[in-house]
């Protein structure tokens, strides 16, 4: 008699996510991608306005731990109606800080479906995929999808030009 082969139980891989709102719309992000969450009020005095560039979604930078973070307005990025942001997410592995309306909750996702291929425009850069959660479907954002390489280059150039201008102005004032 042959011994029964034990069946492999498929354990879904769970991932901790933060559910948050931008422009009233619900999104998810892996909690591992968020380095820090801060209140907007705590940025008063430490954020710097940057000159107008073609990257309309970024108007400010925040200098933290020797790194410049570009503050992305999520409503402009996603083309949503403007809402008042109350929190800012400092994201890992990208110089992006994201303005959000607020956090809905932290939860676990066990299934992430890649974005259907019929979605064939910028959203492919925005989302890792979609997850069904509590009778709804939530897009899971890509942290590196908020600013493209071209946008980062434009912003870096604008910030460096502004820095040089300020330095020159200061030197002029001392003379």
């Amino acid at each position: 008699m042959q011994a029964a082969v034990p069946s492999k139980a498929r354990t879904p891989r769970a991932e901790q996510i933060i559910l948050f709102r931008v422009g009233g719309q619900l999104f998810a992000i892996s909690s591992a991608s968020v380095q820090e969450v801060r209140s907007i009020d705590s940025l008063t005095g430490i954020s710097q306005e940057i000159p107008t560039t073609s990257v309309r979604k970024v108007r400010h930078t925040v200098r933290r731990n020797e790194q410049t973070h570009y503050v992305v307005n999520g409503t402009v990025h996603f083309g949503l109606p403007a809402t008042a942001a109350s929190l800012i997410f400092f994201l890992r592995h990208t110089p992006t800080a994201l303005l959000v309306d607020g956090i809905e909750k932290m939860t676990t996702m066990t299934y992430l479906q890649s974005l259907p291929q019929a979605f064939c425009h910028e959203e492919r850069d925005w989302y890792r995929g979609l997850t069904p959660l509590d009778q709804t479907v939530v897009p899971v954002v890509k942290p590196e999808g908020f600013l493209s390489t071209e946008e980062l280059t434009l912003l870096d150039t604008a910030v460096q030009a502004e820095f040089k201008k300020k330095k020159a102005d200061t030197a002029e004032a001392h003379e």
Binding site: F78, P116, Q117, A118, F119, C120, E122, E123, L130, V137
Partner: protein
């Protein structure tokens, strides 16, 4: 002496969009379902209006009526879930339809050069000539995007 001509009949599903009917290869059809809740999120593929959740799978919805009959459907009775190919891969897509669908067998007449890109062929049913739809050309995806880009390129005319 009688001559028996062998005609290759194929199975098609007829779908209704407003007053007109179209056909899809039956092998592309997954199921016909009642409309369910549409989940919307920001995206830039304007031809898609959102997604539905069906048996744990997330399926995009594409209303093709505007392209085929010139206006969006005001009455949606069902979603026809069909497979759309992306190269070798296939994925389900939900097409809103305004009436019952019918399974028939008919002879396929191949498309001609002058047919629009969304026409995969023709069939004759109850005296009507019906377009067999090419979902790869009709619904968004890498192929459709390339095709739109190619069509928008100015054509060089040489004397």
């Amino acid at each position: 002496m009688s001559v028996v001509t062998e005609i290759a009949l194929e199975a098609f599903v007829l779908l209704r969009l407003g007053e007109r009917r179209f056909a899809l290869g039956a092998n592309q059809i997954v199921e016909l379902i009642a409309p369910s809740r549409v989940f919307r999120f920001p995206h830039r593929t304007t031809a898609l209006e959102g997604v539905i959740l069906r048996r744990g799978r997330i399926i995009p919805i594409c209303d093709v009526s505007e392209q085929l009959v010139g206006k969006k459907l005001t009455l949606r009775r069902f979603y026809l879930i069909a497979h759309r190919f992306f190269g070798a891969q296939k994925e389900a897509i939900a097409l809103p339809v305004s009436g019952d669908c019918e399974l028939i067998t008919a002879e396929l007449t191949p498309r001609s050069e002058s047919d629009l890109a969304h026409v995969a062929g023709w069939l004759s049913h109850n005296g009507d000539a019906l377009e067999i739809l090419n979902l790869e050309a009709l619904t968004p995806g890498p192929f459709a995007t390339r095709m739109v880009a190619a069509l928008s390129q100015p054509t060089e005319v040489r004397a």
